[in-house]
Symmetry: C4
Subunit: 464 residues, 4 copies
């Protein structure tokens, strides 16, 4: 949406994102092929050599492209599209690493050594692993993206790290054995005497098998270090594994704690309410109202959302309230003929609650502090007549209750109980009076509406 | 309680629940027998074949039944009993899986192959494991049911998963060995040369032994992979184990943290109070009052319950207060003759506190902001007379104190101290005045009651 | 302190506690000897037999004694000393277990079998392990006792459980080998062919070595199951270990999280303040004041204590404030001659804060909302005179500042800065006016004190 | 900065810190060499002997130096520089340990035994490991230092502990084998028959290899205990490892939980807002405003900083507000000519908020409760004219809005929307009136400024 200079690409551009995803595939290929070539292939086959160079050239293109991609300034949070600043930033940070990891050392090695098998050049070609930092950035972005499940994103990240560690150290361990002078005194040679002549697949699987056996600390012992070099590598690998395993467990614990926190909070709240009811021997219907209210709160995740909304600035909250409640408040008989201004202000002060079926909203004789408007669902009015509770009427969506109590200061004549799941708006009477007090004209309209619909209470209210 | 259409069963129906529990037993049987048949039984004995078909038919019945079971709409949280909507929902979600997992592939395989031993049909019969999703749903429901202990429900779930993983991979690993061309080069053949002729029990126990040895990462190494196929399976199994172990530990940590949080909060609060007392050299009796108050709060779990109650809507809180406090407030001498309305409103505004024995409720000379009514227990009135604190009287359940201070604005003449565990209602004086101010008549009754019982203070109070 | 009926002992009685601790030692002895006798001793030596019976008799005494120990009612939290209720409670709960675990099965077995080596009686004597529940109760009590470090109490508990598990299963595993028909085909016989003739010490250490190797999942494999019986036990043991290890790690995580939470909160707060300062380029002295204030808050653990105090009921808070602040407020020149009542009320409303050296308490020209009294430490008064900040005076413990601003509504003439660590009481001016307004007489005394000490401001203040 | 007595060094002195760091290097050397000498060197080479004595002498110097280093009193948090108190404290705490760990036992052993190989003196020289407590203190200090990353500090600590445990037990285990009478029946002798004649490097690596294999519970089994002594050591080591591994995992979990908490809170908040929007079908622009507001809050870490600032005492908060807002408020046209005093008081009451681009700050027709001043960024004024929203003007940094609404009580004529990232000060109108009400003169200046700039509203406002 934001317009940038010519020839400068936004990092949020969908085409650029696609290019990044394509590079990611190449990164994964590099991550797998680098250690494998290093350990198992004495002479690089020409097809592989070709593929390696093609992959390299894509990364070279990306280096050039980076000079034309805007970046977000970490202080002002604004996109910078000035070519000079982009270049300075890239050259002073990651350019040198990117360049080294793309430089075709293997091709050059052919000029020195026909087989490209010198250890030095092989090590230099391991620089290609620097590309893996891109995977790290990708996961950091995915974790913040709520379209992806946090648990699985995190698991995928951990699995990738583990897989790479297993593959890399399997290959490296094989290389140690491969280059050891006495093949019999190596971890693999002790079990497969002529391992160098064996099938590549068997050697690779055996190396990975050893690697995972060590990483998971299973350690069957059928394959184990036979000489000092192998022991040293093993020592380092096991230290690394200790850290990695702890990290895996730590992450899993974190995810489990996060994932079960809602259920636990629900259980605790429910249990507290239930214990309170049983300890105080509350009547069955009160206990049921309590528990079904708590259940509803958790099912609708109302608590978390309410908290989030309350943290927003006032203008946004007003916008939300206007969208949600203006159409409802406008149709209420009390406010027929009132100005847009009044209804807007009332709407922005409304609070919405959900009530499960059969819950009391107001009790008979309660002192009223709020005015209620039904958004959806229905309620019934009940009153004790000669000691027996009887249904006196029924209100549906769009109707209002509590208005007589609030406007005429009389105690509530009916118990209001929901008959189905109901969403009800609530407006504090103090706030209501503050708003209608502003203009005498508006107040007259509201009172006239009230008396027209409830002619009986006219006298009673006026005397007050 | 909710009435449904004819022939439609509620998912909460006790008979349906019983049927579900019965199916659960069959699911567990399937979970055990499927991998076992797959790996160990070349020729299915006819009794087993019969049992399998009976079990299958029960699941077929359940598929038919599901078309008559109402479901809860995930948006409106209401039960849907319309047959058409039930059918659409089932057919578009799980029907195809349920049908496949119930289809008698094994019986059909007999038409093609007399022994029912073809690998293809065996794999198809593994579809029966789909039924395990029912166990998942069961545990999800149990976790939210506070009648069951969360710790043990969760442990049972984890144990079931682990047991199944061990059983399944033990069987699978045996099958790999069983079908390997060279029996000597298999994990079991290397230890028991003629294992195929051996006792079924020995083979099964050995497979499970290997499986659990690997899963727990003990890895004695007496049984280990001997060929590439086994290594590959082992690699996958160990990766899975890494995840499973981390998940087990994560869950256990979660449960431990949850289970010890109360003790830790108690210790922290107690320690903070204790350190505060010792650093400020508070007198011994004040420190004791602090500490015993904190102990009581935690023993009665008051804090959590209070928080829960405060989160409920006003009508429910009023109902609770009416149930708990109306009978007590009604009998207080101050409110004899007052209207139901007044007492109801007072009762709904009361707050209940527990006080441990020997704790001060009010201090002599303190400015009073509350009126107190004793629900249970007893308190004594103490006052300094000539520098010596003396007991001046004793109040028991149903009596009120602080009323003179609040109504006549005089400082508190006595220190009130509990003699035993006491529950005391508290009413803020501001709230009290707001309520009795509403009606002049009621106020007169309350004041008359006060003067009748305390004739001496009459003069003093009136002059104010 | 609480008086009980004759012959009834309180569970908090120090002598009873001592007796309980003595029994605990015997429990530990039983826990060790039971599995050991079971596995290793074919014929019980007579000294051991004697010791066993003496230990048993102590537990028999304890059973009798329990009928005379009062208990805490779980509902009313009161001690019950009625002999009948004590007996009913004990007989209906744990009596039967205690009795069985004390019954001398071993002695009786001699009548049937001269060597006391029958498996049945051996199993019956394992009932003595029931006594271990006492260790559980002990640890539950220690965890709530703040005199003991939570970390070490919890570690000791986990270590005990682990030690017992290792010992028990080591012994059990040895017994399986010992009773196996073919000694060569047992886990120990495969390594030490004539193990039954070997030294008891070697056999015991080997069993424990196997047990711990398996529990920690090290699994060297030098000792491993050789027959189905051993495999079955191993399977159960490894399942148990999986749970135990997860439980150990879960507990340790819990302790680590708890132990480092203070440091982490400190770091987060400090970092937030530090980042805020650097992002807004605040002057160096303001940043230092912020950071040293945060450091002090954490060092003195003020936050936690303040929160705890605020959760206490009003009477206790008043008692604390009286103890702490009355002697200080009494000596302030402003309140010389004021009544006990006034000073008491002021003292109970005071709030104490710590200020690190060189922190500003009030700034010049700030609108004053509080009155301050120095409890300890010293402050200096600084003011800008001709653009240069100069020290104008120095106040020490017992002196008051801000009183002129509050009483005469003039802006603060000096910046007040601490010169050393200072504790300062703060009283909100609104609260102060509410209290002195109650009595005209008291107000006059306070104002007279003010004018006597600060004659210059007299005129200025009166005109307001 | 703080002046101390002559010859007394502050513990915060940079030179002293340097000396401490230098000693730390020697401590690490000691930690490595002690177990190594103990296990592998029968005869100490003379160069090593010399180095050991030089290292020892440095620690002797440090003991002497400690008598001249001030310390922080744990109660008053003040530096104590009195030589006598320093000496008493040191002599009564750690002096004896420091002295023992520095005493040259090895040198003395030469008088008794020419080779310095007696076990007794070797054990005594292990006392040097006491020096390791310095590493503990160093890490405790680093953890509280926010210049160092908590994660890596903690990891470094755990790695050091693990490394030392591996090294120490590797050496100790070798020593057991070395001193065992029958070299063939030792863990190393079973694999390398003539190990005592072998290369020192091979023996050391093998010992470390065994140690790490056991600690990580890999337990290949190629090296394992062969006699009771080794088994006993192994038992103890494995118990220790169980605790250490649990501790490592616990710490890692703690760090992971801490490290991911921000991302998780962000995700939860974002998701709650997003679900709320989609459930209530809010218009797209309102949803975007909500989400971008939440993103900004988290990016700027505003929440945590705001909380921290609010916990500071009032004087510091005033200092901060003065630094940040005085220069801005001073330049606002409304307050031209007002006194320093008024502007200072207004500045200290301002609250700063960040608004992302395109967010509404006030809505048209909203009742105004705040006055706004733009610090950076820009906003545009939009109003509905004939049902179409049109941009009416643009305000930039230093300008004020909402002042007419607040001062003249008219509803807000424009919607104010940010065009770029904006920082805006907010002042509650109630607070504003309280401050300008204090002086009639100031109020007149403010109103005159208002009318001069907005001549049209003059009439309208005065009539109110």
């Amino acid at each position: 949406r934001i317009k940038l200079r010519k020839h400068i690409v936004s990092p949020y551009d969908p085409h650029y994102r696609l290019w990044e995803m394509f590079l990611m595939v190449l990164v994964l290929y590099s991550a797998w092929i680098c250690p494998f070539e290093f350990a198992f292939l004495h002479y690089l086959p020409s097809t592989m050599f070709l593929v390696d160079n093609i992959v390299n050239s894509f990364f070279a293109i990306d280096i050039a492209l980076t000079f034309f991609v805007a970046f977000v300034d970490p202080k002002s949070y604004l996109l910078v599209d000035e070519p000079k600043r982009i270049a300075v930033r890239y050259l002073s940070t990651w350019f040198i690493f990117d360049a080294c990891s793309t430089f075709p050392f293997q091709t050059i090695s052919f000029f020195f050594n026909r087989h490209g098998n010198s250890l030095g050049f092989k090590l230099l070609s391991m620089l290609r692993l620097w590309r893996l930092h891109r995977v790290g950035s990708l996961f950091a972005r995915l974790e913040k993206d709520i379209r992806f499940n946090y648990f699985w994103t995190r698991c995928a990240k951990l699995f990738s790290v583990t897989l790479f560690a297993v593959h890399f150290s399997g290959c490296f361990y094989y290389m140690i054995a491969d280059r050891y002078p006495d093949p019999k005194r190596t971890w693999i040679g002790a079990v497969i005497p002529n391992f160098r002549e064996d099938n590549l697949w068997i050697r690779y699987v055996t190396a990975i098998y050893w690697s995972i056996t060590t990483l998971t600390t299973t350690g069957y012992g059928d394959l184990h270090a036979e000489n000092t070099r192998e022991m040293l590598f093993d020592i380092f690998y096991m230290f690394f594994n200790l850290g990695l395993t702890a990290y895996l467990i730590g992450n899993m614990t974190n995810l489990v704690v996060h994932g079960t926190s809602r259920t636990k909070t629900f259980r605790d709240t429910f249990q507290a309410a239930s214990e309170f009811a049983s300890r105080n021997k509350l009547p069955r219907h009160v206990e049921e109202q309590m528990l079904s209210h708590i259940c509803l709160k958790f099912k609708t995740e109302e608590l978390k959302q309410q908290e989030t909304i309350e943290g927003l600035p006032k203008a946004i909250r007003s916008s939300i309230a206007e969208c949600l409640f203006y159409p409802i408040v406008e149709k209420v008989y009390l406010f027929q003929g009132a100005s847009f201004n009044l209804i807007f202000q009332l709407a922005t002060e409304m609070q919405a609650d959900y009530f499960p079926p059969k819950e009391d909203v107001i009790l008979q004789n309660e002192a009223l502090t709020d005015l209620y408007i039904i958004v959806s669902g229905a309620v019934e009015m009940r009153a004790y007549v000669d000691g027996v509770e009887k249904v006196q009427g029924r209100l549906i969506a769009g109707e209002v209750f509590g208005e007589i109590g609030v406007l005429c200061h009389v105690p509530q004549p009916f118990t209001i109980r929901t008959t189905e799941l109901a969403q009800i708006l609530r407006l504090q009477s103090a706030v209501f009076f503050n708003i209608i007090r502003e203009s005498r004209q508006e107040a007259t309209i509201v009172m006239r509406n009230l008396f027209q619909v409830n002619p009986i209470i006219d006298q009673h209210c006026l005397t007050k």
